[in-house]
Subunit: 168 residues, 2 copies
DNA sequence: TTGAATGCAAAGGATTTGCAGAGGC
DNA sequence: GCCTCTGCAAATCCTTTGCATTCAA
């Protein structure tokens, strides 16, 4: 599943994901295990959105060198989120992860045809949400926004079997 | 679970949810069953966000007059969404429903402490998303936005057991 | 009458958990 | 050596499905 997305510049960050995760582990008395190192490597090998299954597909299978069990994958992804390395959101009922550490804030366009996520950034959106929150005396900690529709290339390509689309 | 939300005026609509659903059923050769009538009544009895379980809790239980089975509840909620009566979105991995027909478009603030949803409307947001979409030549069909944080009343009340909160 | 809808039971998919053994520190 | 972490298996949660029966039109 290829990703159609702009390449974003990295933010200047003090340290690598590895370093940051080490600090996280240290500060909590957690251990730097083989499995955590493997997962960190695979997760940061490419800048893509992925779910647990997609990650597991890329990992060595049982019996091979570097195998990590499914429960450990789930547990470790949660740790990465907790450590601020990954961001997690829901899409069609499953959990999707993306890089957080070192990448600027952004939101997504989601093509309901090809199911690709397209990143975009909008400073105006941030300002707008700040305004809305303050009007409600709401202390904002973050947001999740997905704009659904059909991407440019799917509009161009011939309309295939029309998929049933949510009425919104 | 009480809802803290502004009362929104209803949009001027041509017909009641019942009438609209009848038309929907007619147009598809579907039948107006006892169960569908019961569910429509319960769903539109109050303007609240709810999930399948919360709805089922309010319904008569097995053996009582007016009981509707769980599979039928799920099937019928999907029909309501399809008919444009309800809108569906995901929150913490489960499906949440809210009135759509007769209510203006809006988005939500979600309090991570009391777990209430607070509605807000922003025309500027709509305009902004139109702009973003057109910049990407994206044909927008809708969006899902949830702003997370702490609501006014939870900020005032004494901080209880600090819940673990997503880093965003 | 006749096909659509219901309820039951059971399956499904994603994610989580209890626990005994393995392994960082 | 202690205590965390892992893998296994099984459980959990939410939702969907197959099928025989019921029922609206």
């Amino acid at each position: 599943m290829s990703q159609q997305q702009k390449s974003f510049e990295r933010l200047p960050v003090a340290s690598s994901p590895e370093q940051r995760f080490d600090e996280y582990l240290q500060s909590r008395g957690m251990r730097n295990t083989e499995q955590r190192r493997i997962l960190l490597e695979y997760v940061f090998a490419e800048h893509e959105h992925f779910d647990a299954d997609q990650l597991i597909e890329r990992l060595p299978t049982k019996g091979e060198e570097g195998y990590v069990s499914r429960p450990t994958v789930y547990r470790t992804l949660a740790e990465f989120v907790d450590a601020g390395l990954l961001k997690k959101f829901e899409l069609d009922g499953r959990s999707v992860y993306e890089h957080d550490y070192g990448y600027p804030e952004h939101d997504h366009l989601y093509c309901e045809q090809c199911e690709n996520l397209i990143e975009f950034r909008s400073h105006e959106l941030t300002k707008l949400l700040e305004t809305v929150a303050s009007e409600h005396r709401f202390r904002r900690s973050g947001h999740k926004l997905i704009v659904k529709g059909i991407c440019e290339s799917c509009q161009k390509s011939r309309r295939r079997t029309r998929r049933r689309v949510d009425l919104i």
